[in-house]
């Protein structure tokens, strides 16, 4: 047989996933005023209501407050929420990656301490990976932890930390070091669970180009992290963060950010568009339908206990390309001067899509990094 680069096996959704889809739609229907056009916001009440239905930590073990449902059901829940623009911000990071990371690498005590609280939407998490001198190049992390009595002392800073100012905890990626020594590029990577209310933490906003406050710079100055907040083992951080990024990239949120723009394009086109308009919209729908299928295959692989890191990189690369093409196609078909505050839904969405497009192929791994991962999967590196 010839070389088969990546596998996207067909997956059939089980009946319980289809039933769940209708439950989720009813839930969203009743909360239409909370849905947002592009980036679902942060709404603790909304997250609590999801928690009450067992929709946070759906696939996690029951003994930690999870619900032991399948990755396919979770896929359906998440895609419905994302397509609708639901405000998942309070719990989504924890649900997508921090929780699975703690379940996989955390101690029994940590699982008991954090996982049930996540599933009840009581605590929220942010991601402490990027730094001023270390974006795509995570190995260049300079934030350092030194072993001290009863725990660790951490110094350094994190950048682009989304929602740090509203979160309770951060999973911090840093390097073990000895007093007075530089960190090693290749060794000592370690993750910690950091309580953001601890002394020694200062959080400063970094406004994005839309003027919104999502990003932060987080300064860690002689931060004390107790021993029981070491996640996994000292020096195992690289393996752990790779796994965490796998969770991050496997989610369907890499091609459903601008879905409402596509929907609005269909509305503006009307029920009987000319052939060229229909074809331009049809091409984008063809891409989205294919991305959904590939993403569902990934959920199937997760369900089977596999770690489809290469496949996830493929879907994210294709997905962000498709999403960045959406405003390009939109303004060709239906030109308008973009205006964020426009009363016309299409004009406003076009404006925010144009402004949000650049981040799509940067967050969660840049296009270049992802293509590097794919090339490695092909055996070229």
């Amino acid at each position: 047989m010839t070389f088969q680069a990546f596998r996207f096996d067909p997956v059939e959704l089980p009946p319980e996933a289809q039933r769940l889809r209708h439950e989720v739609r009813d839930f969203l229907d009743a909360r239409r005023d909370k849905l947002e056009p592009i980036r679902g916001g942060r709404d603790r009440t909304f997250s609590r209501e999801m928690a009450e239905r067992g929709w946070i930590g759906m696939t996690w073990p029951k003994k930690y407050g999870g619900h032991e449902r399948s990755a396919l059901e979770r896929y359906v829940l998440i895609e419905e929420m994302l397509a609708a623009g639901a405000p998942l911000g309070f719990h989504y990071t924890a649900d997508r990656q921090s929780g699975p990371n703690i379940l996989r690498f955390g101690s029994e005590a940590q699982r008991e301490r954090f996982i049930p609280a996540i599933t009840r939407a009581e605590i929220s998490f942010c991601i402490g990976m990027s730094e001023p001198g270390s974006g795509s190049d995570l190995a260049g992390t300079r934030t350092r932890a030194v072993k001290v009595d009863g725990g660790y002392r951490v110094n350094g800073s994190k950048l682009w930390t989304s929602n740090a100012h509203q979160s309770d905890w951060m999973i911090l990626f840093c390097k073990m070091a000895r007093e007075g020594e530089e960190v090693d590029r290749h060794a000592g990577a370690t993750q910690f669970l950091v309580d953001l209310k601890s002394p020694g933490i200062e959080i400063r906003p970094v406004l994005n180009l839309l003027g919104e406050h999502h990003f932060n710079e987080v300064f860690l100055t002689d931060l004390f992290v107790p021993q029981d907040c070491l996640l996994g083992e000292e020096g195992s951080g690289w393996k752990q963060v790779t796994s965490e990024l796998g969770f991050e990239r496997s989610a369907p949120d890499r091609f459903l950010v601008l879905f409402k723009l596509l929907k609005e394009m269909v509305r503006v086109a009307g029920s009987n568009p000319d052939r060229a308009t229909a074809a331009a919209i049809g091409r984008m729908v063809a891409q989205l339908a294919t991305l959904r299928r590939m993403s569902l295959s990934i959920a199937g692989m997760l369900q089977a206990g596999e770690q489809p890191l290469n496949e996830a990189a493929v879907v994210k690369d294709l997905g962000t390309r498709y999403e960045q093409d959406l405003p390009i196609v939109a303004r060709t078909l239906f030109p308008a001067e973009p205006d964020i505050g426009a009363a016309d839904a299409y004009v406003a969405l076009l404006a925010s899509s144009i402004m949000n497009a650049p981040r799509l192929s940067i967050q969660g791994g840049t296009r270049e990094i992802l293509r590097g991962i794919i090339a490695r999967g092909l055996g070229l590196r």
Binding site: A279, V285, G372
Partner: protein, 360 residues
């Protein structure tokens, strides 16, 4: 919905068969006009060409989804035989109660604008009209034609093209695409029957499009394979060109487009059993559109990473890329099928877009 074990075994054996027999030499000779009879016989022996025909009519009663997978293998090996055409022709003829044979068959018309018709002539019929770019039109042993009759669509099964005025033509890959003209040709009553079982012209067009999508997915897999091998062998500036990030990034895009093409084509094949006819059509349209779009990017990159050698007749890359450039336009190009997708989703309206995508 994992592939059944027997299907996987069949595909493995098809793959070996084509590897041995659909060689560059055989393909080159076919392009010069010699029908690869030995290759056809070997393929016919597997039973694949007639697999979808009901057992009572000499087939195996197989699922379309499985035989479509065989077309991906045929596409991968640039097999210069009318396999897709025979499958479709056999299905149409068998559904209509007409005889099928193991000989290579073809189907016409394959283009929307062409029209054939039959009218009564005593006990028999008179066949008229013109079908352009019929795959292997002159070489097929049996022609299965769809013609407008007095009471609706009729199937006409003819042995060979003796009765037709044939103008030979080729696609970019040198595969025969012949024009057949019929000028009140007498046809016996036994060779004509009404279409049945949904095996009509519109469905032939859809299945033809899906067949080409499958074949394109296979051809892209081959182009990716060829490029992967080449970039790891070719040395420039003192190292394998695969070590350059610029090349790696291009290869990643090629692999991504290929994966998307395979996924879209498989989704289209599965859709053949979808209960909702409009969603079925939508998924077939997605398959043809997405594989066609992928083919454009994939062929560009596969050639770019090869440099000049890929542009030669001697090197095998062109066997895949010339087929991709041909197949993406056969049975409707991306623009046509994408317009169909757009028409369906726009008619359903913006609020139905997400429910449509998730129901498909």
């Amino acid at each position: 919905m994992a592939m059944r074990e027997e299907t996987r075994l069949l595909l493995d054996s098809m793959n070996r068969l084509f590897e041995d027999r659909s060689t560059k030499d055989v393909i080159d000779r076919a392009e010069r006009g010699a029908f690869p009879a030995e290759l056809w016989r070997a393929v016919a022996e597997t039973g694949v060409p007639l697999a979808v025909v009901p057992e009572a009519a000499g087939g195996a009663g197989a699922e379309w989804m499985d035989v479509m997978a065989a077309l991906r293998v045929a596409g991968r090996h640039a097999a210069p035989i009318p396999l897709a055409e025979t499958m479709i022709a056999a299905w149409v003829a068998a559904e209509a109660g007409l005889e099928v044979t193991e000989a290579p068959m073809t189907i016409a018309p394959v283009r929307r604008e062409d029209r054939l018709s039959v009218e009564r002539d005593g006990h028999g019929w008179l066949l008229s009209g013109r079908a352009t770019r019929v795959p292997w039109g002159a070489q097929a042993s049996r022609l299965v034609l769809l013609a407008d009759g007095p009471g609706g669509e009729m199937v006409v099964a003819l042995d060979g093209t003796n009765s037709a005025e044939v103008t030979a033509g080729r696609n970019l890959a040198g595969e025969p695409r012949d024009t057949l003209a019929f000028n009140a040709v007498p046809v016996s009553a036994e060779a004509v029957a009404p279409t049945r079982g949904g095996a009509d012209r519109a469905e032939v067009y859809r299945r033809g499009a899906l067949a080409r999508a499958m074949m394109m997915a296979g051809a892209m897999e081959r182009a990716l394979d060829t490029a992967l091998t080449y970039v790891q062998e070719r040395q420039q500036f003192g190292r394998q060109i695969s070590k350059f990030q610029a090349v790696q990034q291009q290869m990643a895009v090629l692999a991504g487009q290929t994966a998307a093409a395979v996924a879209a084509a498989e989704a289209g094949a599965e859709a053949l059993s979808h209960p909702d006819p409009e969603l079925r059509e939508l998924l077939i349209a997605v398959a043809k559109t997405r594989t066609g779009d992928a083919a454009t990017l994939a062929t560009e990159i596969a050639h770019q990473v090869h440099g000049a050698i890929g542009f030669t007749q001697e090197y095998s890359l062109q066997l895949s890329t010339r087929r991709l450039w041909s197949w993406r336009d056969e049975f409707g190009a991306e623009a046509e099928w994408a317009a169909r997708i757009g028409a369906i989703v726009c008619a359903r309206g913006a609020d139905a877009l997400w429910p449509t995508l998730t129901a498909a």
